[in-house]
Amino acid sequence: MLSDAETDALLLSLKVAFWSLLFALPVAVALGWVLARKEFRGKLLVNAFLTLPLVLPPVVTGFVLLILFGSQGWIGSWLKAWFDIEIAFRWTGAAVAAGVMAFPLIVRPIRLSFEAVDVRLEQAAATLGAGRWRRFATIALPLAMPGVLAGAVLGFAKALGEFGATITLVSNIPGETQTLALAVYALLQVPGEESAVLRLTLIAIAISVLAVVASEILARRARRGLSVDERIGDA
């Protein structure tokens, strides 16, 4: 049904989205909590910086990443020296681009859901002997879980479809950096490949729908955990 190249593109997209989320999510949870709970100098600046990937042309973001992560860049040369990880023109670079572009979308719902958690519950936990980490792990994080899930799904979907920054940072190399979106773009340049484009398009739509449905189910389950249980009938 799918050609090898198309299967490669699909698997690569999933791999890139998975790894970008794996790194972006914990950072987003931490940052979301800090932004919701802490007042500090430069908070406005952090917020503005965080929104940059949303408002900059993706090509510009990709170019900035190229400067930072290229083999001569600050971070790129450091990663190469310490972990032997190459970013430019590799799938890892696609994951970096996807993660950076998705990050603002992941942080926002997480931050909002931390803001919605009643601080007074954490005070109550403190009087019961729970320290900072235990309060976070047992009260704030579980109560913010619907937002964390929403952010994760939104981020995953964004990472899956990222185009501009990715193609700028890692180019469009079949089997290495050619994700689904990049494959569609490449096929569109070739006359007579309309059916292949259509297949990939349908796959992209299917994955996105699945992701959104999954997030709805997860969020609903998380909400149910917070509210009335089934035995309310006897109350």
């Binding site: 403190a126 009087t127 002997g129 729970a130 109560l143 955990g225 249980d229 035995r231 109350a235």
Partner: protein
């Protein structure tokens, strides 16, 4: 036991709170804005005093001079908040066992039993009634093995029926757990029922401290204790049961009172609160009147205040002793009856006004008859 001496500026109010408690139930009593909740938060470590010192049982929790400030989790101060603050994502059982000490100290079964929580353990807080939630909150605080328990208006968000349901549990807690309790409230009936001593707060400072009977009968404090809630709290003894009329006679120092039947044996000690607004004054003993309790006495003082009301304190005495009863009457009545200190009067108290909520078993250590 508990030593508090703190100062804190909060916006426009300056708190300057000094009191100590030697155990039992100490009520922090005062109007909203008097500084009750801030005091509780400072003891619990949720709000830092600007300067001062807080110690529980000799253990210093906060001392601005010595630079001591033990964090809330290490203070071993249990708190029952007004709104319960149960963790909504955890079952009742897991709320109760939240404190690390809760599972291991062998008190779990006892606390669950004392508070009647067996049937609720697998439910989520949102499915509980307000009274049930507060019982769980009390159990959760008890199981954290605190050195002292702070209860910040635990009944304020409940209706009268829920209050009546939960008060007996707090009484059991006072009598069985042997834990010092600081009970914050602006409801005289709760405080009269539960507390040994009262710390009366007003505008961020301690206006008076003393026993329940003293504070609520002092006419000079009535503007603070609240005119409509004001009244005398008297120690009484069940003297006679009238089964046919479903009435009981209570002997108080200086007289006796007929009240709706008290389900206690003759000789039992009880604490009874007579609200000042339920007491009327007559210059002559009324004849052919429905009021059952007519106590002869002498006016001790008439408290001046703004508005149409005056509080008249009346000494009621006979060979058995004497009690102070307060009556809220209008300024016009004071004028027409020419009430002033030394005038002989009769205090008229409707039996109907003394319902179940006005009467309570006193703290155990006062039962010495």
């Amino acid at each position: 036991m508990l030593d508090v001496d703190v100062r804190k500026r909060l916006g426009q109010t300056a708190l300057d709170i000094r009191f100590e408690s030697t155990g039992g139930v100490t009520a922090l009593f005062g109007r909203s804005g008097a500084g009750k909740t801030s005091t509780v938060q400072m003891i619990a470590g949720l709000l830092n005093p600007d300067v001062g010192r807080i110690a529980v049982g000799g253990r210093v929790l906060f001392d601005s001079e010595a630079g001591i400030d033990i964090a809330a989790p290490q203070r071993r101060v249990g708190v029952v908040f007004q709104e319960g603050r149960l963790f909504p994502h955890l079952t009742v059982r897991r709320n109760l066992l939240y404190a690390k000490a809760a599972g291991s100290n062998g008190r779990y079964g006892g606390v669950v039993g004392m508070l009647g929580l067996e049937a609720l353990l697998e439910r989520k807080p949102a499915s509980l009634s307000g009274g049930e939630q507060q019982r769980v909150a009390i159990g959760r605080a008890l199981l954290s093995e605190p050195d002292i328990l702070l209860m910040d208006e635990p009944l304020a968000s409940l209706d009268a029926a829920r209050k009546a349901e939960i008060l007996p549990y707090i009484e059991r807690l006072r009598d069985e757990a042997g834990l010092p309790v600081v009970y914050v409230s602006h409801q005289i009936d709760e405080v009269a029922r539960l507390a040994d001593r009262i710390v009366l707060l007003s505008d961020g400072t301690v206006a008076a401290t003393g026993s329940v009977d003293d504070i609520f009968t002092r006419p000079d404090l009535m503007p603070l204790t609240g005119r409509f809630q004001a009244g005398a709290v008297l120690g009484a003894r069940v003297a006679e049961q009238d089964a046919a009329g479903a009435m009981s006679r209570l002997a108080i120092p200086g007289g006796s009172l007929w009240v709706p039947s008290v389900p206690l044996p003759v000789g039992s000690t009880i604490r009874v609160r007579i609200r000042a607004r339920d007491v009327s004054i007559a210059l002559e003993r009324p004849e052919r009147v429905s009021i059952r309790n007519i106590l002869p006495g002498t006016v001790r003082s008439v408290t001046e205040s703004d508005g149409p009301f005056r509080t008249v304190a009346i000494d009621v005495a006979d060979e058995t002793g004497e009690s102070l009863v307060a009556a809220t009457v209008t300024a016009n009545a004071v004028r027409d009856l020419a009430l002033k200190p030394g005038v002989a009067v009769f205090a008229l108290i409707k039996s109907v006004a003394m319902d179940r909520r006005s009467m309570a078993l006193p703290p155990r250590d006062e039962i010495v008859t």
